[in-house]
Symmetry: D2
Subunit: 348 residues, 4 copies
C-alpha cells in the first residue's frame, strides 16, 4: 500500500519468531483497523480505531492489561480497565486535546450497537499522542464524524501505516512518525498463537534499527523535527487465552521494546501499552509465558520502525516539516552492518 | 441555604477535630465551588466544579494524590495525575456518560485562561457517578454550557449541598444522595491546617450516622431507591504543604471513611478520592501525618452524611423516586443513641 | 476454647450473611491454622501459620491477591505475589523484627517438603505486626523452632484466638489484641462459597462493636495500652474460584472493614490483606462479586472483634500491661443499643 | 583492579553524558560499596552492600523510589519503601534463598548503630538474584558474618566488579555476569548532579554492546551458561534533590535500559530498580527531569555491560561453568562497527 518498504522488506529479521502472514495486528483473527485522516494546511491529525469482532452483543468484554511506561498522557479508561481487567469498547487513538470528544463519540457509537439498548455505563478507551508540531492541536479538530469514519472503515487485511489516522501528524525520533504494525507467532506449551501490535509513534530519542543507529541529525539534510509532548501509544492483540494479569505482563514488555528503537523515554512522553486477548479458555501457567513476552517485544519494535519507514515527509501547521526516513541511507547502513545481524538471522 | 440540617446541627460531633468555620471545603483558602444543575422531567444531572485560585498563570500545577478504592468508574486524568503527582486544571464532577464532553469543555475553558495562550497539552480531571436512576443518562445531557456555568459560578463561602450540580440525580444508601461537604482543622507538628472534603454520593449499602444504623428499608415508608452503577467521588483540599505521595496517603483514608457511612463497596461502584494541596513549602515528615489522616476521615464521613441530609426527595426519569432521609426519624434514633456518643463527644 | 465469648455469642449478627459452621478460616476446606506462642517475663510473641493443603507437590501455587492499606510494614513476598498473582508457601504471621528469620525458616521447611527436592527459588510470604509494647522485640526472639512448631501444629477445626501465636503480644484499640477469625457463606450466582478471615490485630483507634463505641478510655479503669508501630495483618481464604485480580478486589475490602472496628489508620500502621483461593476452575464474572465483597467485610470485622474479645490481660516487657476488653461492659452497651441493631438482624 | 577492560576502556561512549570521575556509583559523595565473596567448590555467592553515609543518627531516611520491572523476585522492603518513599537502611544484594537471613543480619547490624538504641521497627532493603547455576543455593550459605563483612568493607573509591560479592555466582546473557557500576553527570536546570548505578546482572537474552550483538552462542567456543531464575537488581544513587515520586520515575528508566543490553525480560526474572537520593532540598520541577532519565539509562546500560566485561570464567556447583565475555572478540566486533557509533560519539 506504499512504495516505501516495511522493515522485513529491508531484510531485517528482528528476532527469533516467525511473522504472521500480514505482519500486522490483523493477523489476530477478528481484529480490524480503521483510520480517519484529516489533512489540511493547518491540520495533520486523525483517528485510528482498533476493533475486535469478539466484542459483541454476546460477549461484552475482553480481558485486557495496561502498562503505564510514563503516565504523562491522557489515556481515557485506564482505571476501570485495570480494576476489571477488561476492555468493553474498541480502542481509539487520536490527538491529545481531541481525546475527550473522541471518547464522547465512541460512547455514542457503542450505545447504538446491538445489545447496548439498555447500557447506562460504559468505559471507552482512548489513547492519544500530541501532534501539535504539524497540526493546530488547540482547535481540537477531531470530532464525532472522524470517530465514526474510523470505526466504519475498520477492516481486516493489510493495515495502512505511516502518516494516516492518528499518525497523520506525529513525529518520532526526529523523523515523520505515524502508525505502524507487526505481528509474531509464538508458542505457549504445545499451542501456537499470534500477537499483533499497532503503534502511534511520537517520541524523542535517536532512531536505531536492528541496533544500527540512524540519527536524524546525520541522515537528514535538514533539521530534525522536534515534537511537542512526545508519546507512544501501543495496542497489542493476541489470540492466546491470557488473563488480565498476564496481559499486563505482556504490556510491560511493549514499553521495554521502545528502548530498542532509540526512545529516550523523555519525562513529557505519554507511553502506554494496552494488551487484550480475543480468546476464551483457561489461561496458561505463567511459567510458559516467556515466548509471548519476547515475541511481543519483537513485534512492537518492528511496528515502531514500520511506523517511521512507512511515513512520508509532511509540512503542516506553521510550516513545520517532519521528514521521512531516507530509505537509501537506511539500506546503506543496514548493509554495512549486515555481518552484525547474521547470527541473529540464523535463529529465525 | 436549606431548611434541612447538616450533621453538626444534629449535635453529632463526628470525631476529635474542630470543624472549619464553614465546615466546607471552602474553608481552605482559595478553593471555590460552583454548580450547574439540570432538572427537567427526564433529566436530573449537572456539573460541580472544584476550583483552586492557586492554580493560575504563575502556578501551573498543584501537588495531588489519588486513591482508587474501586476502579469501576471513568475518572479522566488519573494516570497523569499519578505520574506527575499534580493537577493542572479545576476538578469537575458530573454524570457518567457525560464525563467526556465535560472534559472536552474543561479543556476549552482552560485554553482560554490567561497564561494558556501556548498550551498544547493539558490533563483535565473529571470524575463521575451514574445518575441514571433519576436521569436519562444515555442522552449525555451535560454539555459545554453546563461546564462553563459551574466554573463561572464557583465561589468561596458556604457550599450548596444535596441535589445540586453533579449531585442532582444521585442516589445513596437507598435515599436521595448528592453533594456534601465538611472540613476539619488539624495539626502537623506545631502548625494548624485545614482539610476540606466535597463528595458526590451515589453508592449502595445501609446508612449509618455516627454508628447508628438508619436503614432506608426501615426509615422510609416506601421502597428504597436502587441506583445503577453506584459510585462515590471524593475531592479533598488542604492548605498543609503535603507532597503528592503524602496526598495519596490522605486520599486512601477518604476511601476508608466511606465504610463509616455504611457503604457496601459494591463491585460496580467507582470509588475514587483525589487530594490536592494549595500550599507551597517543604512537606512535613510522614511521622507527623496521623492527625491529617484522621481529620480527613472525619471530614469525609461528615461530608457524605451531609450529602444525604441536605438532599430532598426527587422524582425523575421513568418516574423513579429517590426519597430524602427523614430527619425526624434520624433525630429520634440519634437521641436514643445519645449515651453512646457521649464518650466521643468528650474528646471534642 | 476460651471462657470469654466470641462476637456471635454476644448475639451480634454482623451483617446479612450466614456464618460458617466454625465461624473460622478453617471453614474453608483444606485450610489449617497453627500457633507457636512465646511467653516469658520479657517476651510475648509467637508465630501463626496459615496452611492450605491444596498447596502440595502437585499444585505448586494458589491464586492470591494483595491489598496494601498502609505500607508501613515489612510484609515479605509482596512483589512476587502481585506479579504472579499467587502464593507458593504457607503464610506466616509474626513479630516485626523477627519476620526475616521466620521467612528464612519457612524457606527451610518448604525445601524439605515432598516435591521440592529441586526447588531453587521460593517466595515465602510472612506478615508481621509490632509487639514491642509487651515483648522485647529487639531481641528478635522468634526463630526456626517456633516456625516449625506453628507449621506442625497447623490443624483444621476451631482456631485458638486472642493472645496466642503471632497475637501473643499485640495491642489493639487500647486493649489487648491478638488473633481472631470468622467466616461467612456467600453466593456467586447459583453457587455457595465460604470466605474465612484470620487477623493479627495491633492498631490504634477507638473500638466499635456493631457501631457501638467501646472506648478503652471509658471501659477500662486503667490507662489504655498504647502500642508502638500499630498494624493489622489480615489473611483471607476462600473456596470460590476467584483469580488473582478478583482476590485483590476482595483483599481491598478487608482493609475497608478495619474502619468498622474503629481503626484510625495511623500513618505508622502496616495494614495488609492477603486473599487466596483454594479452588480450581474458571473465575466468575466480576458482576457477581458484590456478595463476596460484603461477606468478606463482615468476616473481617468480626474476626477483628473476636481477636479482642478472646484476648486476656497480659503484663509483659518493662511491666507494660494490655488489658482485656471488659465483657460485662460490652454486653451492657450492646444491650442498651439492641434496638439499634434490630433492623440489621432481620436481614440475617 | 582487573586486567579486563571496562566499557569506556573499549572506547564506547554510551550516550551523550559525561562519566563521573570513577565511573562508579561511588561518584555520588557519601556512597560506599562493600563486598563479601564466598567461593568454594560448591559455593559461588556473596553479599554486596550499598551504604550511604547520609543515613545516620541525625538523618534516619533518604528519599527513594522503586521500579518493579518484573516482580518474580523476593525483594525485601518493597511496600514500606513505596509507602514512605524512603529507605532507612543500607541496601544489600545477595543470593535468592539467603535474602531473608541477610535481611535479619542487616537488622541486627542497624540496631547496633548509634541512634538506634530505641529502634523497634526497621525496614531492611535486600534484593537478590538466583546464583544456583554456580552455587549450592539450597544450602542458604550467606549468613550474618558475610553481611557484616560486606558492610564493614564498604568504601568509597573504585568499586570491584564482575564475580565479586553478590555477583560471584551470577550468569547473564550466556556469560559469567556479576557486579557492575557506572555513573553519569547531568544537569537539572543550571545545576550539575551525578547519578550512579550498581547492578547485579543475572538475566537471559542476547548480549548487545552499543547496539552490536555479541551472542554467547557465537562468541563462545562452548555452550552458553543457562541461569536459573534470571534476574537483575539495579540500585541507583544520586545527589540531585529528587523526591520519592521522581526517584520512581528514574528507577523506571533503569529497567528500560536493560533492553539495551539484550535482556529478554523473561517471565522468571526478578527485575527491580531502587533509586535513592542523598541530597536535601527542594525537588526540581518534573519538566527538568529528562536529562536525569537519559543519564540514568546510559549509566545502567554501561554498568550492566561492565558487570560482564569485568567477570571472569568460573566453574562452580555441579561443575557448571559460566564463561567470561571474550574481550578480543568484543573488540573486533566493536571495531567493525566503529563507523556505526561515530555519530553518537560526536554528541559526547
Amino acid at each position: 500500500m506504499n512504495a516505501r518498504p516495511r522493515l522485513h522488506e529491508l531484510g531485517v529479521a528482528s528476532g527469533a519468531f516467525r511473522r504472521g502472514s500480514l505482519n500486522a495486528i490483523t493477523d489476530v483473527a477478528g481484529v480490524r483497523i480503521g483510520h480517519s485522516t484529516v489533512q489540511t494546511d493547518t491540520l495533520s491529525t486523525g483517528v485510528t480505531a482498533i476493533v475486535a469482532d469478539q466484542l459483541n452483543a454476546d460477549r461484552r468484554w475482553l480481558p485486557a492489561g495496561l502498562a503505564v511506561g510514563n503516565g504523562y498522557g491522557k489515556l481515557i479508561g485506564a482505571t476501570q480497565l485495570q480494576e476489571l481487567g477488561a476492555i468493553e469498547t474498541p480502542v481509539l487513538l487520536t490527538s491529545t486535546l481531541s481525546a475527550f470528544r473522541a471518547a464522547d463519540a465512541l460512547v455514542a457509537w457503542v450505545l447504538e450497537q446491538p445489545g447496548h439498548e439498555a447500557t447506562r455505563s460504559l468505559n471507552p478507551v482512548v489513547g492519544e499522542t500530541n501532534d501539535s508540531y504539524l497540526s493546530d492541536i488547540r482547535s481540537r479538530p477531531v470530532g464525532e464524524s472522524h470517530v465514526r469514519e474510523a470505526l466504519a472503515a475498520a477492516a481486516s487485511g493489510p493495515v495502512a501505516e505511516g502518516g494516516v489516522g492518528a499518525g497523520t501528524g506525529t513525529v518520532a525520533l526526529g523523523y515523520k512518525g505515524g502508525i505502524g504494525t507487526a505481528s509474531r507467532v509464538f508458542s505457549v506449551g504445545a499451542s501456537d498463537y499470534t500477537v499483533g501490535a499497532i503503534v502511534q509513534s511520537n517520541y524523542s530519542g535517536t532512531l536505531r534499527i536492528a541496533g544500527v543507529p540512524m540519527p536524524a541529525a546525520d541522515l537528514l539534510a535538514a533539521e530534525p523535527a522536534v515534537g511537542d509532548g512526545n508519546s507512544c501509544m501501543i495496542v497489542l492483540a493476541t489470540d492466546a487465552p491470557l488473563d488480565a494479569r498476564q496481559l499486563s505482563r505482556v504490556a510491560n514488555r511493549a514499553i521495554f521494546a521502545m528502548h530498542g528503537t532509540g526512545s529516550d523515554f523523555a519525562q513529557g512522553s505519554g507511553d502506554y501499552a494496552i494488551a487484550f486477548s480475543v480468546a476464551e479458555g483457561s489461561p496458561p501457567d505463567d511459567s510458559l509465558l516467556s515466548p509471548a513476552f519476547e515475541a511481543t517485544m519483537d513485534a512492537v519494535e518492528e511496528a515502531l520502525v514500520n511506523s517511521l519507514l512507512q511515513a512520508t515527509t509532511r509540512t503542516g501547521f506553521r510550516g513545520n516539516t517532519a521528514r521521512q526516513v531516507p530509505i537509501d541511507a537506511v539500506r546503506e547502513r543496514l548493509r554495512r552492518a549486515e555481518w552484525m545481524r547474521e547470527s541473529e538471522r540464523m535463529r529465525d
